[in-house]
């Protein structure tokens, strides 16, 4: 065993000296290789963490949402719909929701206005004349609790609210642009009459029955569009898959360029390398030794590139907020939410990345060497 280890060490020494003779070319290869692993690992880590966070947070969203469609557009729920839904067996809770959008000219941003049910939310009851704002709104408008803020509604009337609270910064991912008002203020602001709602949120007694209940709802209210929680989760899953795909497509040019470069470097032997193999064989190296030497070369280069690229990608994504890909993967807007992702590292994904980066390069280095190593040393040296 000791002899074997000593032999491998000697082979590695020789390999490193051989690499050092073409220092610039090999360092260039290592750098490009590391950058490619870094880019792929960054996209993978970022989208996986964002997808995980979305699923984790949105698992508490309403089980069923019922909207009313008129001419293909979302319309207000008229009085009577809530009662009709209440008669469907299996529906546990039903709540009319009031929410909408408002464009603020001052910062050129859209806000989401919402009237939460007073008994449920955890920031104290939103009293008439007051407003609870998201952290990004507070940042953009420079507001703190106690300040006054005025909005001109779509009907031209001016409304003044006192900021009662700012939603926590940690919750920006879901609430950056939220404005919470009392129901009375919301109805006055948008001139929505009593009894009308934007949509209805339902909870179901038996989660297994959600699809059956959705079927019953569409029979009872044929103009309803039903959105299940699982569809919301699937939407986000596909959004992040799509974005991951877009980034990978954008990166594919550089990945292909690297593949050609690495393949060329690994598989096309230079005259110098061929001569080196010929000399090694002539002085008594066996074919197996030459192969082992090149195997070590491939393994050392690709392992270093993989580990370095992955570690840098991890710090880029989770400690430097993925500055390079943030706008594409997260989205962009005037009210840009600032949030830190919780690192979720998937072992299977890392294994896949390892397999598709380390393995091909190592194999690509072996095949041409094997071809050169089995030919006659004299022929190899003569080229």
């Amino acid at each position: 065993m000791k002899t074997w280890i000593a032999r491998q060490k000697a082979l590695i020494d020789f390999t490193l000296s051989s690499l050092a003779r073409r220092k610039l070319k090999n360092l260039g290869l290592l750098l490009v290789y590391t950058v490619i692993v870094f880019l792929l690992a960054s996209v993978m880590l970022y989208t996986h963490a964002l997808r995980h966070e979305a699923a984790q947070v949105l698992k508490n969203s309403p089980e069923v949402i019922v909207q009313r469609m008129v001419a293909g557009r979302h319309d207000l729920i008229p009085p009577g719909y809530l009662e009709k839904l209440g008669r469907i067996r299996g529906v546990q809770n039903k709540e009319g929701r009031l929410w909408g959008y408002f464009y603020d000219n001052v910062v050129s941003a859209n806000y989401t206005l919402m009237a939460p049910s007073p008994e449920e939310h955890g920031f104290g009851r939103v009293a008439d004349g007051t407003i609870v704002i998201g952290a990004a709104v507070a940042r953009e408008r420079g507001l703190v609790p106690g300040n006054l803020i005025s909005f001109r509604s779509y009907t031209g009337k001016l409304f003044v609210f006192t900021v009662a609270a700012v939603l926590p910064h940690e919750a920006e991912l879901v609430s950056a642009d939220l404005l919470l008002l009392s129901e009375a203020d919301f109805r006055a602001f948008f001139e929505i009459s009593a009894g009308y709602y934007n949509d209805i949120a339902l909870s179901v007694a038996n989660p297994q029955e959600v699809r059956n209940i959705a079927g019953k709802i569409s029979e009872t209210l044929p103009d309803a569009r039903i959105i299940l929680r699982e569809e919301v989760l699937r939407t986000y899953e596909s959004i992040f898959n799509w974005r991951e795909g877009i980034v990978l497509v954008l990166l594919s040019g550089s990945i292909l360029a690297f593949t050609i470069f690495a393949w060329e470097k690994a598989s096309g032997l230079s005259a110098e390398e061929k001569r080196e193999i010929g000399i090694l064989k002539a002085i008594g190296w066996e074919t197996g030794d030459v192969l082992k030497m090149k195997l070590w070369e491939g393994a050392l280069v690709s392992l270093t590139a993989f580990l370095l690229g992955y570690v840098v990608a991890y710090f880029h994504v989770f400690h430097f907020s993925a500055a390079l890909f943030e706008p594409v993967l997260k989205g962009w807007s005037v009210l840009y939410p600032r949030f830190e992702l919780v690192p979720v590292v998937d072992g299977f994904q890392i294994a896949t990345l390892f397999f598709f980066t380390v393995f091909p390069y190592t194999v690509a280095t072996i095949v041409p060497i094997w071809r050169a190593a089995i030919t006659d040393p004299d022929a190899v040296m003569r080229g």
Partner: protein, 111 residues
């Protein structure tokens, strides 16, 4: 000890491997530290009945992609293209990309 090149290479690889393993420990530590914030987010979503992440706020179909009606991206006039740049980062509707159901094994009578 580090006089041989192979030893230096092993030390470098061991260092990188240690850093690689450290990322897992760091992720665990960070996750524990963020557990309270994540729980708070979950609570806000449950209490307010939120349905979407606040990522793009410029149009309703990008602010609430799970709630917007299918026509909302093309709302301005018939044959309108949707014009918000973030729309290109949203996937096309499922029905455009979904494969058709393979019915030949389910049908009872031949066509």
């Amino acid at each position: 000890m580090l006089s041989r090149k192979s030893h230096r290479a092993f030390v470098l690889l061991a260092l990188l491997l240690a850093l690689f393993l450290l990322t897992f420990a760091d992720a665990g530590r960070y996750r524990a530290g963020r557990a309270a914030a994540l729980q708070q987010n979950e609570q806000i979503v449950a209490q307010l009945g939120l349905t979407d992440l606040c990522l793009f706020t410029e149009a309703r179909y990008t602010r609430h992609p799970s709630q917007a009606d299918l026509q909302s991206a093309f709302q301005d006039h018939p044959l309108a293209f949707e014009h918000f740049p973030s729309g290109s980062l949203l996937p096309p509707p499922r029905n455009l990309t979904a494969a058709y159901e393979n019915l030949d094994r389910k049908t009872k009578s031949a066509d």
